[in-house]
Symmetry: C2
Subunit: 107 residues, 2 copies
């Protein structure tokens, strides 16, 4: 693909059940990345938005974690319903969704 | 971690031997990510540079792929020996390594 305008990284790290750090997989990240994939496909945004699954990005206790570059905005506790908001307001609209961002001390 | 100055994404996608698209794993990405990890540790760069493994980022035939944000610079066919160069010249020096970048039509 050509260099995208926005690049969305979704953590899909898994850890064994009961692991003290938890994981984005245990928090439902597969619903989140699938929703991004569906929306990108339905709106034909392949040329604008890249979507990549990742290993651990750090804020495991606030998963599912979604990181958007080039701004470097880290979202936490993202659920399926938040995906359209992130796409509409941030990825297309250009304004990061403040309410979904992790606290400044986390990222 | 606090928001890093540079975020290095290393593709660690694997595919079965003989797969037509190849993969970064088949091209030796584990040496590359391990070298980044060692150098970040040896130089104590944890506060400046984040390192994350990813799934497929696209240019599979030019793997191992290394993507650096916030610039969005994609490096291809990166080998272990290139890692110090990328750290010295780009991540610390601020100048992307032109010779290692994938062609503009790829990214």
């Amino acid at each position: 693909m050509p260099k995208p305008e926005k690049h969305v990284f979704v953590c899909t790290q898994n850890r064994p059940q009961g692991h003290p750090r938890g994981s984005c997989a245990a928090s439902g990240c597969s619903d989140v990345i699938n929703e991004f994939m569906n929306e990108i496909q339905n709106r034909n945004l392949f040329e604008k938005i890249a979507l990549t699954n990742t290993g651990c990005m750090g804020p495991c206790m606030m998963g599912p974690s979604v990181l958007v570059y080039p701004e470097g905005v880290m979202y936490g506790k993202v659920n399926k319903e938040d995906v359209k908001t992130i796409i509409d307001e941030h990825l297309l609209g250009g304004t990061p969704v403040a309410a979904l961002q992790v606290p400044a001390e986390v990222w």
